[in-house]
Amino acid sequence: MEEIKGAIALIGYGLAAIGPGIGIGIVVGNAIQAMARQPEAATVARTTMFLGIAFTEALALIGFVLFFIA
């Protein structure tokens, strides 16, 4: 088990990146839609988009950190 430790951590990081990848896609896609429909509300949409990205991205980054810890 010890020899393939690195490979397991890599797979773990890959799995951790799937969900946030989809999530950030949904967040940004919907934010762009909102900005295109209501350009006057673009500032609010952009701030909220960055917030949503930040919350979603955290999961992938925790996976990234665990990759080095494991």
Binding site: F50, L51, L61
Partner: protein, 272 residues
């Protein structure tokens, strides 16, 4: 990058092209103290912390030492930075009383921005915030402030509002309360710190690996001949990432400040 170059100088490019540092942590660790004052060791990281502090102080001092009605170019940039943090981040998120927290947010934003941009500064090439101690310290300050603000605004209602939310059906209240409690008091500071830290670690690693491997191929042109051209795409890709990392550095400073403001806002106005 210095460590990788040091490691690569020991490796014999005539025999094998792949050279790697023995441990990836070496890229972030500077154990060797440059000088010491009593029990305090001044490593490269500590000096960079003070350098970032002095840069922020100098920027603010020279921009606002003699306020003019029509500021110069430098003054305009600094004024727009300050008004961005004050109007957009602080007042835009927290509300009218947000200007009270603007100094804290501005100090945090500028320090993180300078620390992040060290990643791209020639001859420094080390993001200050890629050492966990620094983002963790900043996020613990944020944690202290939003907990203190929550208790001073709502008293004990702040705590009961989190662990016993009135807007949730009674059967689910304990579960939602538990999740809210853990996410507010434990996960918030951790994710705030880890987000900044991991972004900068990833950026530093990518830049180091791409640019240093390009450099390595060029440097070993005498040993491997025309095959050194493999280094060119790596180097160009590294330059692309360099531009991308600039965006990441600014964006992460902004996100850290924005999330701090959002957390303070949830303490000032609970139930929203």
């Amino acid at each position: 990058m210095d460590v990788l170059i040091l490691a690569s100088e020991e490796c014999d490019t005539a025999k094998e092209i792949i050279c790697a540092p023995t441990n990836v942590i070496e890229l972030f660790e500077f154990k060797h103290a440059l000088f010491s004052i009593g029990p305090l060791d001044f490593t490269r990281t500590v000096i960079l912390i003070f350098l970032a502090m002095f840069i922020v102080l100098a920027l603010l001092f020279f921009a606002f030492r003699k306020p003019k009605i029509v500021p110069g170019k430098f003054g305009v940039v600094m004024e727009s930075l300050v008004s961005f943090v004050r109007e957009d981040v602080a007042k835009g998120t927290i509300g009218p009383e947000g200007s009270k927290y603007a100094p804290y947010l501005l100090a945090m934003f500028l320090f993180i921005l300078v620390g992040n941009l060290f990643e791209l500064t020639p001859f420094i090439n080390f993001p200050l915030t890629s050492r966990m101690a620094i983002p963790l310290m900043l996020s613990l300050f944020t944690w202290l402030i939003f907990v203190f603000v929550g208790f001073s605004h709502g008293g004990l209602h702040y705590l009961t509002g989190i662990i016993w939310p009135k807007s949730v059906p009674i059967g689910l209240r304990w579960l939602v309360g538990l999740i809210e409690f853990v996410s507010t008091f434990i996960l918030r500071p951790i994710t705030l710190a880890v987000r900044l830290f991991a972004n900068l670690v990833a950026g530093h690693l990518m830049l180091t690996l791409l640019l240093a491997s390009g450099w390595l191929f060029f440097a070993s042109v005498g040993d491997i001949g025309v095959r050194a051209a493999i280094g060119l795409p790596w180097f160009l890709f590294g330059l692309l990432i360099f531009v991308f990392e600039f965006v990441v550095a600014v964006l992460q400073a902004y996100i850290f400040t924005l999330l701090t403001a959002v957390y303070i806002q949830t303490s000032v106005h609970p139930e929203h």
